[in-house]
């Protein structure tokens, strides 16, 4: 099942609608990496609000996703992690290292705006 990816200004927004299989998640990762290149996006938001479980595979894949997208010069923000899911992730001992997180889409956009503005000012 494909995850819809929307383009908003310089950003790509992927909203996960329902539980994803491993294959779906990998497909999303590859699609985002490709599209960041195509559209020269500067930021990517992955909305995981609909995920009721994030296990080690999901965490690892999102981490890889953020890493690969950074190599293409863009920032990734994961938004919408549910409180229960966040709790399970830390209990399991997983660390979403090197990945920015925000509460929801609105916060994610604000985060990217701030981060990229600061970045461009510095350059």
């Amino acid at each position: 099942m494909q995850v819809p990816i929307l383009k908003q200004r310089d950003y790509l927004i992927a909203s996960i609608q329902a539980a994803l299989t491993d294959a779906d998640l990998l497909q999303l990762r590859d699609a985002l990496v490709a599209q960041v290149g195509t559209f020269r996006s500067r930021g990517v938001i992955v909305d995981v609000t609909a995920l009721d479980v994030m296990d080690s595979f999901a965490v690892r894949t999102l981490r890889d996703l953020a890493h690969m997208i950074r190599l293409r010069g863009a920032e990734t923000v994961i938004v919408g992690i549910q409180p229960e899911v966040a709790f399970a992730i830390v209990q399991l001992g997983l660390i979403l290292e090197g990945v920015s997180t925000a509460l929801d889409l609105e916060e994610g956009l604000a985060f990217l705006d701030k981060k990229l503005k600061a970045g461009s000012r510095a350059s």
Partner: protein, 288 residues
């Protein structure tokens, strides 16, 4: 429980039949004894009689079948109903023992002429009766413990409020000892609070926490990370030197944890992170 010999089984069947036959009068005697012993004072006579009937029948059924499941279910159900009425453990144990006595005496009366037979009857009756008393008492105690736990849970929830102070800023004052259960409840409340209030910064003040063992300290670290997953930064304030040592001992890199000396300092740091600038009012030149 040891399997009964065929003779015992036959004997049990005989005394169960007797107990069923004498049901009415034995039940009445039991109810009378309960009142005499001043047990179940929280319940009315009618209520006592109604419950006595149910318990009696269940009791005799278990003597007959040896199966405690039905009795356990009944005992649990009974406990659920009477605990809110204030019935105490000693009362429940008391009434079951009284029933055991009433039935035993009835058996004595019936078989007193034949001492050998009486002994065999008691050999069959006593283990079964004791098992029943045990089952009912244990079920009651377990239900009580469940109720107490639920009450403690409610108290814990009340005692750890998550306070929205400014937009995007939450304060979580933690007071008192934190056991693993409370720690987890704290985390759940905090995470929900972050989402409800859309907080970006949380100041968790642990000045009022005297001590924390390694498990709870570790949990604190997990909480900070879980909050980050929701996009919130946690500033820990009021970390005592002892607590800091505990954290270091469990391998926490304190330089990675956002800590500030006291609550006030924590709030200021939070405001800084949020981009608030608190500036003093300018002196008005027109002041007299």
């Amino acid at each position: 429980m040891q399997p009964l010999s065929e003779a015992s089984v036959a004997l049990l069947r005989e005394l169960v039949a007797h107990l069923r036959q004498s049901r009415t009068q034995l039940r009445e005697e039991w109810a009378r004894r309960i009142t005499e012993a001043q047990l179940l004072t929280a319940m009315s006579k009618d209520e006592i009689f109604a419950e006595a009937t149910a318990v009696y029948d269940n009791y005799v059924d278990v003597l007959e079948t040896g199966s405690v499941e039905a009795l356990q279910a009944y005992a649990r159900n009974l406990s659920e109903r009477i605990i809110p009425r204030g019935v105490q453990t000693h009362e429940v144990v008391g009434i079951v023992l009284l029933l055991r006595d009433v039935l035993a005496r009835s058996l004595f009366a019936k078989y007193q002429a034949d001492f050998t037979k009486l002994n065999r009857v008691l050999d069959a009756y006593e283990p079964a009766a004791n098992r029943i008393a045990n089952t009912v008492a244990v079920s009651f105690v377990q239900e009580r413990e469940r109720v107490i736990r639920a009450q403690q849970e409610a108290i814990r929830e009340l005692s750890t409020p998550v306070l929205p102070v400014r937009e995007r800023l939450l304060i979580l004052p933690v007071i008192g000892t934190v056991d693993p259960l409370r720690a987890r409840q704290l985390t759940e409340q905090l995470l929900r609070g972050i989402r409800t209030n859309r907080a970006r910064v949380v100041v968790m003040d642990i000045t009022g926490v005297p001590a924390m063992d390694a498990t709870v300290a570790n949990h604190l670290v997990l909480t900070v990370e879980a909050a980050r997953l929701l996009g919130a930064t946690v500033i820990v304030t009021g970390l005592s030197p002892e607590l800091a040592q505990t954290l270091v001992n469990i391998g926490v890199d304190l330089s990675k944890m956002n800590t500030v000396g006291d609550l006030q300092g924590g709030i200021e740091e939070a405001e800084r992170l949020l981009g608030y600038k608190v500036s003093p009012l300018e002196e008005s030149p027109q002041q007299p």
